[in-house]
C-alpha cells in the first residue's frame, strides 16, 4: 500500500469503483493514531476496541457527506474525541461517579488491564493524567503524545487556541504536582 494523501483517499472514495477499498485505506492510515488517542482516554483495551470500531463505522456512514471544510484527519479526530468523551460521560451517569471517582475508577482499570505493561514511572504518570478532568486530559494527550499544534487542536475541540494553551499548562502543573507529591 502506497502512502496516499487525504485528498487522494477522498477522491478514491468518491470517484473510484470501490469505495470500500478506499475506506479500508483510510482505516489503515488512521487506525493506530485513533486507537492510541482513545486508549489514553478510556484506558481499557476492550472499551477502546469497541469505541474505535464505532468511530470508523460513523466515519463510513458520514464520509459521503464530508465536504472537506476541515481536513479528513481533523474530522476523524473530532469524531473520535466525541465518541470517547461520550463513553466517559455515559459511564459517569451509569455509575453516578463524581469527578474524583472517575479518575479513581480509571486508575483501577489501568491496574487491572492485562494490556497495560508500563513501568512504575509510566504508571505514575498515567495515574496523574487520569486524575485530570476529561477535557483537560484530551488537551494534554493531544499536545504531549500526539504533538499536535494548538491551531489544529482548536479545530478538533472547537475551542480557542488561548484556552487550549492555558488548559495544557494547567494540566502540566497538576501532573508535576501529582508526581512530585
Amino acid at each position: 500500500m502506497g502512502s496516499y494523501t487525504d485528498d487522494e483517499l477522498l477522491a478514491l472514495f468518491r470517484n473510484g469503483d470501490n469505495p470500500n477499498y478506499a475506506f479500508n485505506l483510510i482505516v489503515r492510515k488512521y487506525q493506530e493514531t485513533i486507537y492510541w488517542h482513545v486508549r489514553r482516554l478510556v484506558v481499557s483495551h476492550d472499551d477502546t476496541d469497541d469505541i474505535v470500531q464505532d468511530i470508523f463505522i460513523k466515519v463510513w456512514q458520514s464520509l459521503h457527506k464530508f465536504r472537506g471544510e476541515s481536513g479528513l484527519y481533523t474530522w476523524i479526530y473530532r469524531i473520535a474525541t466525541n465518541e470517547a468523551l461520550t463513553f466517559l460521560k455515559n459511564k459517569k451517569r451509569k455509575f453516578f461517579l463524581p469527578l474524583v471517582d472517575v479518575g479513581k475508577q480509571l486508575e483501577e482499570t489501568l491496574e487491572a488491564d492485562v494490556y497495560y505493561q508500563g513501568s512504575e514511572m509510566e504508571k505514575q504518570i498515567q495515574k496523574a493524567i487520569l486524575s485530570l478532568p476529561d477535557k483537560q486530559r484530551v488537551v494534554f494527550n493531544l499536545r504531549y503524545y500526539d504533538e499536535m499544534k494548538y491551531e489544529e487542536m482548536a479545530k478538533i475541540l472547537n475551542t480557542s487556541e488561548g484556552a487550549l494553551k492555558a488548559s495544557y499548562h494547567h494540566a502540566v502543573k497538576k501532573i508535576e504536582k501529582f508526581v512530585g507529591a
Binding site: 487506525q31 486508549r39 483495551h45 463505522i57 455515559n90 453516578f96 514511572m121 509510566e122 504518570i125 491551531e151
Partner: protein, 176 residues
C-alpha cells in the same frame, strides 16, 4: 506576526515544561494484543457489512426496543388517567379499587427494562431516591443525546404515576 509552530518548537516546549520529571519517557505503557492492528480493518469491514445488512430491519428493532415501550407506557397511563377520571366522575371507583397487579403492570411498562436489583442496591448505597436513580438510568438509556427531551417525558410519567399514588420508591420495594 503570528508565531508559527513547528515540530521542533513543540518538542522544545514539551521538554521545557516537564522539567520536574527528568526521567519522564514518552512511553505510556499501553499495549495491544498481538496482531491487533492487522485484524482491525477486517473486523470493521465485517461490522459495516452486518450494519448495512441490518439497516433496514434496524429501524424496526430500534422502534421495538425503545420507542414502542415508551409509547405503550404513555398510552397506558393516558388510558388509565382517562378511565380513572370517568370512573371518579361516576363515583364508581376509588384509588383503592386499582389492584396492586395493575400498578405493577403499569410500572413494568414504564420501567421494565431497568435492572431493579441494581436500582435497589443504588438506593441503599447512594442515598439518592429511587426516582433520582431511575432518572439517571433512563436519561442514558432512552435519550443519550437529549436530556431536555427526556426530562419532559420523565416528568410526565412521574406526574402520572403520582396521580395514581405510585411512588417509584414504594413500587420498587414492592417488587423486591
Amino acid at each position: 506576526m503570528k508565531f508559527k509552530e513547528t515540530p521542533e518548537t513543540i518538542k522544545k516546549e514539551l521538554d521545557g515544561l516537564v522539567s520536574h520529571l527528568p526521567h519522564f519517557q514518552k512511553g505510556d505503557g499501553y499495549n495491544v494484543p498481538e496482531g491487533y492492528f492487522e485484524s482491525l480493518p477486517s473486523r470493521i469491514q465485517d461490522r459495516m457489512s452486518s450494519s448495512s445488512h441490518s439497516e433496514s430491519v434496524g429501524l424496526s428493532s430500534v422502534l421495538l426496543k425503545r420507542v414502542v415501550p415508551v409509547v405503550a407506557a404513555v398510552l397506558l397511563i393516558a388510558g388509565l388517567t382517562i378511565g380513572l377520571f370517568f370512573m371518579e366522575r361516576n363515583g364508581a371507583v376509588s384509588f383503592a379499587d386499582i389492584s396492586d397487579a395493575d400498578m405493577e403492570y403499569a410500572y413494568l411498562n414504564m420501567h421494565g427494562h431497568i435492572d431493579h436489583v441494581l436500582v435497589y442496591e443504588l438506593v441503599l448505597e447512594s442515598g439518592m431516591s429511587a426516582e433520582e436513580i431511575l432518572y439517571e438510568l433512563e436519561v442514558g438509556f432512552l435519550f443519550p443525546d437529549s436530556d431536555e427531551a427526556y426530562e419532559e417525558i420523565i416528568e410526565m410519567i412521574f406526574d402520572n404515576a403520582r396521580y395514581f399514588g405510585m411512588e417509584s420508591r414504594n413500587l420498587l420495594s414492592s417488587l423486591d
